[in-house]
Symmetry: C2
């Protein structure tokens, strides 16, 4: 299997897991939806869980790249970029077929902290924290990590409520809260 076919497989697996959940999508269904036979899949991934970790790593890369690009397109100053992260969030929520966050769902299905899938999800959120922390620091916030923690909490809460209740309400309220917290952190 070529590298690009393998990427296709992971990309399609990502879509399937996103739509159906991790336990709910079996390997037979996965083979059918990706167009790659089970045996071919198992040539490249030792277990289903290895494949899930690979999809999470791909999603981590895609999502953080997208987020950074959107933030930089929406604002040029670090302070404005902190707030722009929440505008990007709103854009994400509006995407057709938005189904909450792969990593939150992964940690829900694989609860044990020691599990590689859970750990991969935790790592993704840690990288998001670092990004927010960098922006806060550049914006001149004294305790940049404290603000980054607070903004990350808003982000995760907004995702959960966008999925459970209403995307627009969640995005708007998270943005408003972020604005207040950023302003206070800069006094």
């Amino acid at each position: 299997m070529s590298a690009s076919k393998r990427d296709d497989l992971v990309q399609n697996a990502l879509k399937a897991f996103n739509r159906g959940g991790y336990h709910a999508i079996g390997m037979d269904k996965l083979a059918a939806e990706t167009g790659v036979s089970k045996t071919a899949i198992y040539k490249h991934f030792r277990t289903k869980e290895d494949l899930i970790v690979a999809t999470l790593r791909l999603r981590d890369e895609q999502f953080r790249n997208w987020m950074v690009r959107r933030v930089e397109a929406l604002a040029s100053e670090p302070k404005g970029q902190l707030l722009a992260a929440f505008d990007a969030l709103a854009e994400w929520f509006r995407e057709p077929g938005f189904q909450s966050c792969m990593f939150i769902k992964a940690s829900s299905e694989y609860q044990d902290r020691a599990h590689p899938i859970h750990a991969t999800a935790a790592e993704h959120k840690r990288l998001l924290f670092q990004y927010l922390s960098k922006l806060a620091d550049e914006a001149g916030v004294e305790d940049a990590e404290a603000l980054a923690h607070q903004l990350l909490i808003l982000t995760e809460g907004a995702i959960v409520l966008a999925h459970l209740h209403d995307p627009e309400t969640a995005a708007a309220n998270a943005r408003a809260a972020a604005e207040t917290l950023i302003e206070q952190a800069l006094i």
Copy 2:
């Protein structure tokens, strides 16, 4: 089966689902862990999903009762009670075997908004919102619903990060953010 035995069943099912997840715990394992045979379970619940909904309803009642009691024990004034909700959250996170929130996990495994399990989870969060909204109103906040939305976002985000990263850090930062938002809403 007596009413109390049925309650025992649901209570034990709640523990099992909480520990293992919904898809991951099969009916055979559930029968073994609750001490009630599958046939006996199916005498009272038409499907596994009906049983899950029953466990969520029980958890909703238990959790909200507990939260209200803790909040009232920790503070007597509405404004203080808004903040006390986050102290209660910290207490919950510290409980041994804390495994995130049953409702977030349920909505992760049953993503379709039309699904009864997802709807039950959404309803629980709506009731929490109403509670926060009432407290905010009593505290004299002008736009009580806006503040309640923001505090609910903090709550959900703190739960997610308590599970993925660190309970103490998540609780402390959510509390600090809540304090800022409450103060600003009262100006």
